[in-house]
Every structure is written in structure tokens, then in C-alpha cells.
Symmetry: C2
Subunit: 351 residues, 2 copies
């Protein structure tokens, strides 16, 4: 039997610990290191943090010192789930790559880092090749439903006139950080001020999705633009975390547009809110390809954001391990797929 | 400006001439050869057969002698659209590969030839590598909607318990050959006899789709089985080609199953019929992933079979040209995508 695939998890927030749990539920993985800054987690065994039974795959001690686990011959793979932005995860990626680890990250901007960080992207590609590792950012959005899936659907089209993509989702299950990022609970004026001052971040990913679509078609879009609007509720809406009065902000409706020549080519719409069902809003993922043939795609209810991002990060690990070295995107690798059996059966022979 | 990509089309039936038309509608292609056996086509110029205006990209003369156009340095790509079965297209593939051409074929079995022809597949892989070319079979089904798309959707799943795939389509636009293959117009007894004696072929592709799914997950299915049942109409249905009385066969409902261990894992259902709307049957493509998360996918109405198969064959040409040599499947190549701009922008530098 082949050796288990050794993984280091960098960041044990809701994504990182979800990823750790999923990895431990699969055959053929072992988590050999976990890094987090939270004093409540540091020094504990991983299985304690995750609240699962101890076994040989989950008993590493959580450290705040990366150098204790990010070192040569310690692991094959490092999963980085600490932040959304390329420039923030870059030093972590560099360190893991230089330790010879293949890397998967949840950082949204890393799903297509050339869109906003071309220089860092070039550097990551160079570091990856020098160290013979592959680096991939992925997630459900950006990384899958509003870009990769759209591109793939056009594969059965003779002509594509325009693309309309919409993801209507429910944020009720998320925590405080997401509520703040989306401006939920603010009044209209506070929301508008928050957008101006960048405290209401909204969805991070449209620029990355546009970039991936441009590369797929070898096109250059014009006039890429996006807007964030408050979703004002007509009825009170509340979760365990936040209570929103009628008239206030229950979510953030983000829209993005890109032109081809001077004609609108891509429309993206991503209203994210808590408890959409209270105003009879049905959640779902919708893609419309206007062209020949016209295609109307839906997944209803929407692909759930949290679990799906966790899953695609884990599922891509064997494909990243099999890849030739470099900075990769979902466009470069074979299509994602679930790990159903032993993950080692999906990994090509290692040298 | 780079030279245009030179293509030979082998077979000018409805698929082959559709492919020729689509290719000629794109920037950067030139059709330099066309092969067909039909005496009404041989000797004519391609543009006459296609009923389009003459230009420098479409004026080759249709030949029945493959050796006139399947020769070294004559074309980069050969598209083969003559038959459904690997053993029938194998000699054509061999000839084109030995002439140094990359190959795309519509042959259904070629979408996953290892399923039914493992020996020929090995031989094709060897020939492809010796001649530094790539060989791909594709189409909308098999090749896309009941296999590749199903696999891709599982990429956002932590757990997959079972897969249910259904494609409900309308055959009314197809010709005589398809009506005969599907047993349309027969009575129930004739249909059952036709299935036994293999004159009612039904859908060619379930075994290929199962094979592709097995490879994607590195699993081996048990008890793969399929059935063909007549779709008996309660009302008269007719097209230009065929008239079906109430009580007779308006289509073929093909179902396929595959077990994982001793548990049903994949269910495929593909009822193909003329004029389903006369009995309030709504056409569509449906995929249900039972697992975590559960996903309910639909494209409604269904991806239209003819134009979509033509499109995916053409759209895969640049990806086949970019591929390393060998016998390839849709699993090996990057995701399909439309050719929107100049196809040469999608092709990596050739040596």
C-alpha cells in the first residue's frame, strides 16, 4: 500500500477546519501539521479542535509557528485557508512552495490571481517551477459556478452572443465576519458609506471570474465594472448573529458587467442575503447562454457556498499533485470530481 | 499573421457537413480536403455541397479517395464523422494519424473507446504517440451531458451516494436513419424483436459514459446493465419523415444502471422520441447528485443533440492540437469552451 498523502492545514477558521474534517473523512490522507494564530487553538491536538475521535491521522498539535511544519519532506500538500487576498497569502504560499509542497488555497483572488496581481502571479509561477510544485486557488465562487461552469457550457455552442450568470444565495448560516463584510444589519446610508470606504467588501471574485473567462476565450473585455447595492428588506429578518429591521440592509446585491468591443457580453448578478425566503426569493444558480444553441441552466437551490468550497479545495488536491509545476488555475487542470474511493488511487505515481 | 489551421472533413453527412459549416463560420480555419462516398457529392466543390458562397477556405473538391487528402503536410486536423463504432472508424483514424494529423471524431464509442475496444484503444494510443498526434472522440452524449458534466458537478461534493442522470429529448428534427435506429413507427412486437436482433440500436453511449465515470473516480462498477423499452404513444404523432399511430412506437426509452459494490450507484435514463409535447412531456437534461451537498441540475429544454455535437467537435479542435500526443478523452483535456474569436489565438505555438 502506498504511503498516505501528508497534508498541512494553514488556518483553522470555518473553511480550514471544514477542510480538515473532510480530509480526515477520506481514505488515504493524513494531516501532519496545522497552523493557527488563535490562542484557544494553539497547543491543542487537532482532533480536539475538530471535536472528533483521536486517531493516527488527526493527532498533530496546532502550532502558531509555521516553520515547525512548513519544512522540507514534511508534507506533500499545504492547504492555505487564512485570507481572501493574494497579497496576504503570498508569503505563506512562498514559504510552503519553497518547502516543496503542492498548494491549494481558498483565497478568492487566487482563483485567478493574474486579474489583480500580475506581478505576484509571475513570481508565484517562478517559485512553483523552481521548487517543482503546483499552486491552485479554488472555491465554489470564484472558481466554479460563475466562471468555470459558464465556460464549460459554451463548449456545446456554435455561437455565443452574451452570457448571463446569476447566483442567488442565502447567508443565514454564516458568522459575524460575513455579516460585516456584506453590510447586513446596516441602514441604507451606512451601507453606501461602507461601500465607499471599503468596509463593506461584498463578494470578492467578479474580477477573477472575468479574468478566467477572458483567458478561456482568448479575448480581452472592455469596461469591466461592478456595483454593490443594498438589499433592503420589507420585513424583519434575523439569524442567531444579526437582526435586521424592516427597511434596513438584509444583504448585498453585487452586479458586474464586461463588454466585448462596445457590446455588453457578460452580466453577473450575485445578491447575497439572509433569509431570502421571507420575501419569497428563491435561491439558485442560473446561467443563460445567449447564442446558438441558447442554453438555460439552473441548480436550485444554489450550490451551498461553505460546504462546496471546502469540497472543491479537497477534491482538487490529487489533480494539483498530478499537475506539472507552476501557478495553475481551474482552466489548466482536468475537471474537478469528488474523491469517492481512496485518494491515493487518483494520484499518479510520484517520483 | 499565423497560417490558417487546415482541416480535412471525412464524411459529409448531417454531422460532417454541419461541422464543415461551423468551421467555415469561424476565423482562422481553412478546409483543405473533404471525403465522402456519395456519388452526388464526389467531384463537386465543398461550397456547392454546403450551399454557401465560394471563398478560398471552402473550395476544395470532394473526393472519394482518402489518399488524395490524407497525406503528410496536407492538414493539421482531420475530423471524422462517418460512423458510431470504434472498429469502423479505426482504419480511418490510423490513416489520418499516420499522416500526422490531429483527429476529432463524432463516433460515439470513441468518446470512451476503452469501454468496448480496449485493444484497439491501446493500438490507437501507440499510433498517436508514434506520430505525435492526439485523437479525441466527443459529442454532446456521450462526451458531455451524461458523463463529463456529471463528473464535474461532483467536484463540489464532499460525499456522493448516487448519481441520477436523465436526458429527455425530441428527435422530430432528425432524418430516416435515426428513426430506424430508434425503432420509431414500429409496433410494440416489432420493436421488441428489433431490440433482440439489434436492428433497433437505440442510444450508443451508456457503456462509454459509465467507463468515463469509472475512470474519473478511479472506481470499478459492478453489474453494468441497460435496457431499451418502446415509448408507446397514446396519440398519433408524425414528422415529415414518419407517421406513428396511437399505440405504436414513438421512441426508445433507454435506461442504464451501474452498481458500486452491491449498491446502485448510477442511474441513466434517456427516452428519445418524436414530438414529446403531444403528450405533455417536457424535454430537458437533469442531473441529481445524491450526497453532501445534494445538487439538482437542469438544462431546459435539453441541449439540442445535433448542433451541440457539431459545436463540441469543432470547439475541441484547438484543445486537441494543444494536447500532448496520445489517445485522449474529454477527461484528459481542459474543459471545452466556445471558439468566439480567432481560433489561432487558442492554439499554442506549433513547432
Amino acid at each position: 500500500m502506498k504511503e498516505k498523502i501528508r497534508v498541512v492545514i494553514w488556518g483553522l477558521g470555518s473553511m480550514g477546519s471544514g477542510i480538515a474534517n473532510m480530509i480526515l473523512g477520506k481514505k488515504g490522507f493524513k494531516i501532519v501539521g496545522a497552523i493557527d494564530m488563535d490562542p484557544n487553538k494553539v497547543g491543542k491536538k487537532l482532533y480536539e479542535i475538530l471535536g472528533v475521535e483521536e486517531n493516527e491521522d488527526n493527532c498533530c498539535i496546532v502550532t502558531k509557528e509555521p516553520s515547525e511544519v512548513i519544512k522540507r519532506d514534511f508534507a506533500e500538500v499545504c492547504v492555505i485557508a487564512t485570507a481572501s487576498f493574494t497579497r496576504v497569502v503570498f508569503p505563506l504560499i512562498k514559504m510552503a512552495a519553497e518547502a516543496g509542497m503542492d498548494i491549494v488555497t481558498t483565497a478568492e483572488e487566487m482563483s485567478y490571481p493574474r486579474a489583480q496581481e500580475p506581478k505576484l502571479s509571475e513570481e508565484m509561477d517562478k517559485i512553483a517551477k523552481e521548487n517543482k510544485v503546483s499552486i491552485l486557488g479554488t472555491g465554489v465562487n470564484p472558481g466554479f459556478i460563475m466562471d468555470l461552469m459558464v465556460i464549460m457550457l459554451t463548449g456545446v455552442c456554435d455561437r455565443v452572443d452574451s452570457l448571463e450568470v446569476s447566483r442567488i444565495n442565502d447567508l443565514a448560516c454564516f458568522g459575524k465576519a460575513v455579516m460585516v463584510e456584506q453590510g447586513i444589519g446596516l441602514n441604507k446610508e451606512e451601507f453606501i458609506k461602507g461601500v465607499k470606504e471599503d468596509t463593506v467588501a461584498g463578494h470578492v471574485g467578479f474580477l477573477e471570474s472575468f479574468g478566467m473567462i477572458e483567458e478561456a476565450f482568448a479575448l480581452k473585455f472592455n469596461n469591466i465594472r461592478q456595483e454593490k447595492e443594498p438589499i433592503l428588506t420589507n420585513v424583519p429578518r434575523s439569524t442567531d448573529i444579526v437582526s435586521v429591521s424592516a427597511g434596513d440592509v438584509a444583504g448585498c446585491r453585487q452586479v458586474g458587467y464586461a463588454d466585448l468591443g462596445d457590446k455588453l457580453f457578460v452580466t453577473m448578478e450575485h445578491p447575497q442575503q439572509i433569509k431570502p425566503e421571507l420575501e419569497q426569493v428563491e435561491t439558485g444558480d442560473y446561467i443563460k447562454i445567449n447564442g446558438v444553441p441558447e442554453l438555460n441552466f439552473q441548480i436550485k437551490p444554489e450550490i451551498p457556498g461553505g460546504i462546496a468550497t471546502i469540497a472543491i479545495c479537497v477534491n482538487m488536491i490529487p489533480l494539483v499533485m498530478n499537475s506539472e509545476p507552476g501557478l495553475k488555475t481551474m482552466l489548466d487542470l482536468p475537471i474537478p470530481r469528488a474523491i469517492i474511493g481512496d485518494v491515493r488511487d487518483l494520484v499518479k505515481d510520484r517520483d
